[in-house]
Symmetry: C2
């Protein structure tokens, strides 16, 4: 079936202007131009537009979307599975927002108190995943470094300021961990500082921190060979050392 601009726009819930703009930037070209000069869209374009709208819904910039969907190696079915996963995450975040407003309503009715920090639960989105070593690499090789960085940034609504902070903390963790490793003492001052920095770094990822979760994650670094490899890259034994330091920091071992 074929559509002119208005028909497709109506069906998709976008404006005609949007479709013309997408044509202009090379994001969604019509199947053909008829003898009157009208844009004519077909089945392929419908599916492309659906993909675009999913990416857009997830906050990806149009530039990035264009690079992704026009890539020869673009796999529509795989993309759909990723959209699914991301939409589920988005729903989790929305649930947190809903919990927040419910709690705030109770506060306004005087039932209990709420810390300032809690008032913003759900607005801060989880930032770039810790486990890039697990699957980020494959995506990067497929779509290019720049595209993924932009995409991650937008998907997560992360500002440059926040990104800088995370990067700085990650660097601080790594450096302090190395220095602490040389002391050989996971209970020492440096190791405990590394654990604390690690906690601060995690707080960009987790809306709520718990010692159990922190300890559990550090155990994961040892249990998952790929994550172990990530931490042991410069100095074998680092993952285990961090795990020990965190366990002590969180009081998980006596």
């Amino acid at each position: 079936m074929e559509y002119v601009v208005r028909k497709l726009a109506q069906m998709a819930g976008v404006s005609s202007r949007t479709l013309r703009y997408y044509d202009e930037i090379g994001l969604l070209k019509p199947a053909r131009i008829n003898t009157s000069g009208y844009r004519i869209y077909g089945e392929t374009e419908v599916d492309r537009l659906q993909q675009i709208l999913f990416y857009r819904e997830l906050g990806v910039s149009l530039d990035s979307i264009r690079d992704i969907v026009t890539s020869p190696s673009f796999d529509g079915a795989q993309a759909l599975r990723e959209h699914h996963e991301k939409l589920l995450e988005k729903r989790e975040q929305l649930d947190r927002l809903i919990s927040n407003v419910e709690r705030t309503i109770e506060v306004s009715e005087g039932r209990f108190q709420m810390m300032d920090k809690e008032k913003f639960e759900g607005f801060k989105q989880k930032l770039v995943d810790d486990n890039e070593a697990k699957y980020g690499k494959e995506v990067r090789e497929k779509y290019g470094e720049e595209t993924v960085n932009k995409s991650n940034q937008k998907v997560r609504g992360m500002s440059q300021e926040q990104h800088d902070e995370v990067t700085k903390l990650a660097t601080a963790v790594t450096e302090t961990l190395q220095a602490a490793f040389e002391t050989g003492d996971p209970a020492g001052e440096l190791a405990q500082k590394a654990a604390d920095l690690h906690r601060q770094w995690l707080c960009y990822y987790w809306d709520s921190y718990s010692k159990e979760a922190h300890a559990g994650l550090s155990q994961m670094y040892v249990d998952d060979p790929r994550l172990t490899a990530h931490y042991d890259e410069k100095q074998p034994g680092t993952a285990a050392f961090l795990r020990d330091a965190v366990h002590i920091y969180t009081g998980s071992v006596k």
Copy 2:
């Protein structure tokens, strides 16, 4: 407790630039400026920022938000209840999106077919509520016509094109209904045309149409005195006439 720009920005998950911009446009003024010229925010500003972020999350323009939250009659607790309601609606829409992507995945795996129109389920958001006569009037008087129109438009992600279409259909319903009323025949051609136009109008509100729902809604027009008053404004008996016409149209009466 007091915060400088960076602290508040971090806590709320926004950028320092955002807070300065909000100060500049009069949306969120700091509690005071200290002797160094630094912005200092307090408890009141924290609560104001939370409200702002809820409105922003719901797509309301900053201009509108400023008009709302700076109004002397702004009621924070009431606003929170409205946010709650709107966030629940937003989650419903997200659920529809998730269903859409799940179905599309099944299509991509060849399990069954999907109509073009179905591929955009969840992207089109429900438009302005039918029941403005119920509670829209109070809000309008409170905050002003322009603010509410802008707010509704943004909250619902409605484009001008879509808005025009809805308005045109609503006008067509009203005019056709009046002409049909004069025939006195709810089964007549004009009345059935009015019922059909009413259905088309409803399709901007409902993602899925059913005759039962259509018939049920038209019954509501008669049962709810305020909705009856809305339809009977120009011609008493119009609500009942429309109910009859719709019942015949949907085959709810023989």
